[in-house]
């Protein structure tokens, strides 16, 4: 019977919604009740340090090139031993979409996302974080990794002295 089916189909939803009316809502009451985001949640971005405490970032601009909304900017500078670092480093969080592409691009694991999601501000300019605001003490997600123990100019070891690293290529030896 089509008619019977239609009537049933019309009335059934009423029963369902009535049942829901007396269930406990699933909403999290935000300011009072906060959820703990998973550890790999992509929110506030930080610049981490090496295990020995030195800055990780080498100002290679890869993160700012990867950023789809172009919200990372920096100026590179070079220390006396040839080690590059960022003279200033700026992320505009009012534009950041928390896609995490910058962290994937970073070769030194310097830039990382954290689960701290409460960074809204009524003043847009306060959302522009400078290097001092971004730098943290710890190593973030990877506590072991130090880029210069695997590659790069001789900051930790001599060039090519790292155990998983080949020595520098002598271009002249490639000649026929």
């Amino acid at each position: 019977m089509n008619l019977w089916r239609d009537i049933k189909g019309t009335l059934q939803p009423f029963w369902v919604t009535l049942g829901y009316l007396f269930k406990k809502p699933v909403t999290i009451q935000y300011p009072e009740e906060k959820r703990t985001p998973p550890p790999r949640y992509r929110a506030r971005i930080v610049l981490t340090c090496n295990p020995d405490g030195s800055e990780r970032c080498v100002a290679c601009q890869l993160c700012s090139a990867a950023c789809p909304v172009n919200c990372i900017s920096m100026q590179a500078a070079e220390a006396a031993d040839g080690r590059r670092y960022a003279a200033w480093f700026r992320i505009n969080f009012s534009r950041c979409i928390f896609c995490g592409l910058c962290t994937e691009a970073c070769p030194t694991m310097a830039i990382q996302t954290t689960p701290d999601y409460e960074i809204c501000n009524r003043d847009v300019l306060k959302l522009v974080h400078e290097k001092e605001d971004l730098l943290i003490d710890g190593c973030g997600k990877d506590t072991e990794y130090n880029f210069y123990e695997h590659s790069g100019i001789g900051v930790v070891n001599e060039r090519g002295g790292n155990e998983d690293e080949y020595g520098p290529v002598d271009p002249k030896s490639l000649l026929p």
Partner: protein
């Protein structure tokens, strides 16, 4: 002259009372609708302002009042400006004939608890609802926007078609009360509410009044996902608020109409009549909110087909049947 003055004062007092009660009810129905819909969808609904969100209507009003009152370019300005008022006014005026309690005696005068017991009260309500159509249609037309125009056209066709079914569904009610006066209709239901006497008429009435009030299963005139907001797409600020409030006053009107026509008006055991009346009105309002939480919107042509090819023939049949039955019972 003195008598005239007293009756004028009485009418004004009753008007003020009704206005206050109805507007408060409308404001809190907005909140109730949002909360009930929320709970049906496993949310809380507004609960931030005041205890349990009780001050939300106030905030809504402040928000609407402080927004810009925008008139689109090349809109027909004056029609655009008065159309929302027309809707709200028509809904409010319907209350003039709704009796919400038996007459009370005060200072030795018998005061009927209705602003004006017209002996054509039912037709008066119909007349006003046809006036409310103009609010929708003129508002939509004057906005000079295609969405508004489409919404207005839909609203117009829908309201005119379902008014027929609505009127026919009420014929058995009038037959058993032998009067158009709402007071007499309530009086005739002293022992049996019309709901039990004319169940089919009740169902037809509920369906067509949903379409009349443009509420959710039949809200094509403002179908958000097709034509933005239909006839009030271009409205903002308090003029949108008037449409909005009009809609909720209308919900109270519908509740009162259903109560008077089918649920036995103020009749009920134990509690005082006014309380019964308000309870019944709130119950009907809940039914409508419930339907909004439960039903999807049909297509526009399905609505028209259903109205003309199912509802109106059914209502006609119902008129003939209940006429025959009441003749058979009476003779």
């Amino acid at each position: 002259m003195n008598d005239l003055l007293i009756s004028l004062v009485l009418i004004l007092v009753k008007l003020g009372l009704i206005l206050g009660v109805v507007l408060t009810m409308a404001a809190y129905l907005v909140l109730a609708e949002r909360k009930i819909l929320g709970r049906m969808q496993l949310r809380y609904g507004p609960n931030r302002i005041g205890p349990g969100g009780m001050m939300q209507p106030l905030c809504d009003v402040i928000k609407l009042l402080t927004k810009e009152d925008f008139v689109p370019d090349r809109a027909d300005k004056w029609i655009f400006l008065f159309a929302p008022g027309l809707t709200a006014l028509a809904a409010l005026l319907s209350f003039a004939v709704v009796p919400f309690s038996p007459p009370v005696t005060l200072f030795g005068r018998e005061i009927p608890m209705v602003v004006c017991d017209l002996n054509i009260g039912l037709l008066y309500i119909f007349g006003l609802s046809s006036l409310a159509v103009y609010g929708v249609v003129l508002g939509g037309w004057a906005s000079n926007s295609k969405y508004s125009l489409l919404g207005a056209l839909r609203g117009l066709a829908q309201l005119v078609s379902y008014e027929l079914a609505l009127g026919l569904a009420l014929v058995p009610v009038v037959m058993s009360a032998k009067s158009f006066s709402l007071n007499a209709i309530v009086m005739a239901q002293a022992d049996w509410p019309n709901l039990l006497r004319h169940p089919l008429a009740f169902i037809i009435f509920m369906i067509s009044i949903t379409a009349e009030s443009k509420r959710t299963p039949f809200d094509m005139p403002e179908a958000e996902n097709e034509i933005v907001a239909g006839y009030h797409t271009e409205y903002s600020g308090m003029r949108f608020g008037l449409f909005f409030v009009g809609e909720y006053i209308n919900l109270v009107v519908i509740g009162a109409m259903t109560t008077v026509f089918f649920l036995g008006g103020w009749h009920g055991p134990f509690l005082p009549p006014v309380v019964w009346f308000i309870l019944k009105v709130l119950f009907v309002a809940f039914l409508f909110i419930w339907a909004r939480g439960s039903m999807p919107r049909p297509r526009y042509d399905q609505l028209m087909h259903f109205g003309w090819k199912v509802l109106i023939p059914l209502a006609l049949l119902n008129v003939v049947l209940s006429g025959a039955i009441s003749l058979a019972v009476n003779s």
